[in-house]
Symmetry: C2
Subunit: 480 residues, 2 copies
């Protein structure tokens, strides 16, 4: 039985065996207290060793980090912490840990713990983060399953570039420095494993659309890759993405799906991760104590999550957003680093102004200029209401995170899609299968991508994306 | 509303809009029948167009493969198929499909459909397969979530080789043919994206163990890769694997977990995919009609699945299995291609004999010779009962599939593990983090890997693994 379940038992002096890792051991004259954790919950169980019950030799070997099994009696706890504790009768030591064990019971910096990512699961903070990450992942699957979507495993190794401009990792089985060459000196990929040049996918969307054009509602949830040299707190070279794609959905259906989905998974975490969220909330409050009053968050972590679940996301067009930004104080006072004007790709400072200052809630921006969005987005009817051509894109912006979701209605008109593909300079030969879906029974359809780590970042309140994935892949780092 | 739900409605002459792809259109003098499918179920809904209700021009454009929306009234069906049908009042055509649409209503070979993997979702067979694949994937997550496991996303890009001998794909961001060199002419990987040589993972197990040594129960479910030039019906270069890892589990706990898990997901498919399984069962029966009686399956697909769920797996040691094989008819008559003897790596023909002829049920083989298994498996106590040293390995063998699960208790003794690592010639420097878990609070633990596509192969009764993953990656093939 795990500690999570043992802590729920009533202390009827029943026999239990508790297995876990020692968090702390406190000795007194004739009694020793051992706090054990097995990762099933953030809560420890206390084992009490009365004088003489366990031989000195064994007790001496037990220190922070050791793994032990305590057999004993479950009794009501005398202390103020948990309702129950274990009165030890015997202890088996599975593995000791000497004083070089890095996770000693004191405050460690997140940077230090990143270097010890193989052991950081044994801290309260990272135990909480990865239990919440699990709950969010399960909620993703549950939401889509309950709503009639089929989970589609789109390929990781690909010969196409979904975005048309991604920085991609190359995949090859050639010996480094010994690739066979063509007569002109270029690499002869026809001799490579797949008989062609291949890379790691940046998105499963294009293949996801193939599924949606038959199964109607699909979603992907898999790793995606960017060989971008971005050393920031928001970027990973390898991250997990969720991409639903739905036949017969227009842009508004797509927005409704995105909002309902995000609210569902956050509510799921609120319902299922109370202890862990409270711990992380207190951790944040502690951290903010060192900040001046005006830099502290207005809402606690739980308040922030509840606020997102309980309030409608603000929906407006890109054109309306530009108007708001142009009239904003920072624009008037020339405080934005990047100038605002219709046609610009919104910068983080602009998104933050809209979300954190102006609306103070999640925002869905739609109908972006065609020229700053991907080729597959459905073109809007030309209208005098906007200074230029727009597409049915939508980005969901979250406070503290920025873009958490990017999506669109897809161009389902074969001629318009071909024109756009030629405009942006993609070789249609590489996308013959994608174009086929617009030739044979094309249908209006929409979808979006949600970066899973950004969601985990938001829900845990952590500040660095490297702390919400077990073993982050970033420039110059592929350890573990 | 999707067709799956509309078919459940009672025909109270309510108005409905049905959206989907035309499977067939049959015209008669004054009435037209259109069968529509939207992938939500294998069942089609019939739209009935009475004379003059829809203009000729529109009707003419509707053919197999077209995508349409039919607005009309839900009525009791006169025909023998479904309970309800739609009496069309208007039809909107989303996308036509001319006669070059490859999925015309006739029998296509699986080879042909593999070439058209972007459209094969629109056939009954592949619709069924991918709905079942979804159900199995969801059941995997549900089983582990309900049993207190945490889903751990282990890295895809890795600098380590979990098996010690895998054929791995290289990952790099260097321009092909333009990698910077060291003075000795070798590639200077310190200038590559991750600052070192990296590959695609062959298993998440080693990192999974890191999680289990803190969270107790974890599982992975992600893509894994083998750059093996195996052009068989059982191998993929890219496939999805499920790898649970559990602290405090010994080999027997591990076997219990494997058996309980596999039975659960198969039962889930039986409970949730009845229509699709029945279709695939009939497909198989049809296919077997062309075979001589003695080559046909003894059990239908559903009987086979129920048999697995309802019967205990046979458990025996490798040593016992060798004894059985040595005494077997094919061994006596020298009919095995590979000779049987203690120490051999069992070949497919041996496994099939045990599973399909001798026991006629799933088999779990344990305690394999140390020399044919991976370095991380826990060494058994030396015993006279076996001709050589063994490890606490277990393989689960399935009829028609062979090995579906491979696992073991892990070596948790630091010294024994180091000795073994040196014996097999792995550089311990590369696994410092793995070894750390045996230094700091080591614990008995066990786990296994299940190849997801092999499970889908078994449950769908399909014969080629390329037909149970949306877009297979195999030698010389990375299309779509």
């Amino acid at each position: 039985m795990q500690i999570k379940d043992i802590l729920q038992l009533s202390p009827e002096s029943q026999s239990v065996i508790v297995k876990g890792w020692v968090r702390t051991k406190r000795g007194q004259a004739n009694i020793v207290f051992i706090n054990l954790n097995d990762g099933s919950t953030i809560k420890n169980i206390q084992a009490v060793v009365e004088d003489g019950k366990i031989d000195e030799e064994t007790l001496k070997k037990i220190s922070t980090g050791a793994c032990i099994a305590v057999s004993g009696t479950l009794v009501a706890s005398a202390g103020s912490g948990q309702a129950v504790e274990v009165l030890a009768q015997s202890i088996e030591i599975y593995g000791t840990a000497d004083e070089t064990f890095p996770m000693q019971p004191k405050k460690h910096s997140l940077e230090f713990l990143r270097e010890k990512a193989h052991l950081r699961f044994r801290t309260n903070t990272f135990g909480a983060i990865f239990r919440i990450r699990h709950a969010l992942a399960f909620a993703v699957h549950k939401y889509y399953n309950d709503n009639g979507f089929f989970y589609l495993h789109t390929p990781i190794i690909t010969a196409s570039d979904a975005e048309g401009a991604g920085e991609m990792f190359r995949v090859s089985s050639f010996e480094p420095n010994a690739a066979p060459k063509n007569e002109d000196g270029s690499v002869d990929f026809s001799q490579d494993f797949f008989g062609r040049e291949t890379s790691l996918t940046v998105s499963g969307q294009l293949e996801g659309e193939l599924g949606a054009m038959a199964l109607s509602k699909i979603y992907t949830f898999g790793p995606t890759f960017r060989a971008e040299n971005s050393n920031t707190t928001r970027h990973l070279a390898e991250f997990w993405m969720i991409e639903p794609e739905v036949a017969f959905y227009d842009l508004e259906d797509n927005m409704n799906l995105a909002e309902s989905f995000v609210k569902y998974v956050i509510q799921y975490a609120l319902d299922n991760c109370k202890d862990d969220l409270e711990f992380l909330q207190n951790r944040l409050l502690e951290e903010e104590k060192s900040k001046p009053q005006n830099e502290r968050s207005e809402l606690t972590l739980l308040e922030k999550l509840k606020f997102v679940v309980e309030n409608d996301f603000e929906r407006l067009t890109y054109t309306e957003a530009i108007d708001i930004l142009l009239k904003s104080k920072p624009a008037q006072k020339k405080q934005f680093q990047y100038e605002v004007g219709w046609g610009i790709d919104l910068q983080s400072e602009h998104e933050r102004y809209l979300v954190e200052k102006h609306f103070k809630k999640p925002v869905i921006l739609t109908n972006y200029p065609k020229d700053i969005k991907a080729f597959y987005m459905k073109q809007d009817e030309v209208s005098d209401a906007t200074p230029g051509a727009t597409v049915r894109a939508m980005d969901v912006l979250f406070p503290g995170i920025g873009e958490i979701i990017g999506g669109s209605q897809r161009e389902d008109n074969y001629e318009k899609l071909m024109t756009r593909i030629n405009e942006v300079g993609i070789d249609p030969e590489n996308l013959w299968w994608y174009l086929d879906t617009r030739k044979f029974g094309s249908a209006p359809h929409s979808g979006f991508g949600l970066g899973f780590e950004r969601l985990v970042l938001f829900v845990t309140g952590m500040g660095n994306i490297r702390d919400v994935i077990p073993f982050p892949r970033t420039p110059k780092n592929a350890e573990f």
